[in-house]
Symmetry: C2
Subunit: 150 residues, 2 copies
Amino acid sequence: MGDLEIRHATADDLPAIVAMLADDPLGAQRETPDDMTPYRAALEHLDADPNQHLVVAVREDRLVGTLQLSVIPGLSHQGMSRALIEAVRIHADERGSGLGSQLIEWAIDTSRQFGCRMVQLTSDKSRTDAHRFYERLGFSATHEGFKLRL
Amino acid sequence: MGDLEIRHATADDLPAIVAMLADDPLGAQRETPDDMTPYRAALEHLDADPNQHLVVAVREDRLVGTLQLSVIPGLSHQGMSRALIEAVRIHADERGSGLGSQLIEWAIDTSRQFGCRMVQLTSDKSRTDAHRFYERLGFSATHEGFKLRL
């Protein structure tokens, strides 16, 4: 397999990113890959915030993965910044290839470079394979993840 | 009891906020209320980021509560912004007074005003009272909360 590049996403990447977000048992119910309008607006908000890092993994000119890393300053833990990982997706053709680990390890290294002392994420309780994956990468499921839809 | 004001935190509020962060079974092990230096640096980072809202609840000139609300733009869920709540603390004298609910309801209302369509938070699995509290306020523990210390 060719070399992997991980870089910030651009507007040209949106259709491929949204296709990955939608190609998932949960994502299929909530994305609209036929209409890029809301995603273009969201990308403008992401680009305007230097603490948001929406990235894509690219191999041989194909988008094969994506995640969003958010750097969040805070007072607790003696003024610790933390990083939040959201919206991790690996292209169906690449699942099981180790790309997921590479992408999360990139996020961990990048969080450290930004001075973060914690990386956190939540994973739907139905995604039990993902839970084992994150535990293998050193994460611990120490917390309950609460959500409220508005 | 007097009226409650919820406003952005200032540097003058730091000693009282850190005292609340430390007055907690988990926080006692990780905060340094005798040294404000790391907290002052963190407040500068918070103030520099318009998506971070560190607030205090004030009653009769006394700080009685605090939380941090972070607005996080994103692509998933059709370009949904979400709000993250961290570092919720209620002064020991005010626990059970309904202040916690007022503060979280303020955070939910404010998230809605910022255009967020989800509010999320994680709570240590040992804080079972807090879990019932968040469920009463409409949150669902649908996710596992993973953390990795760097």
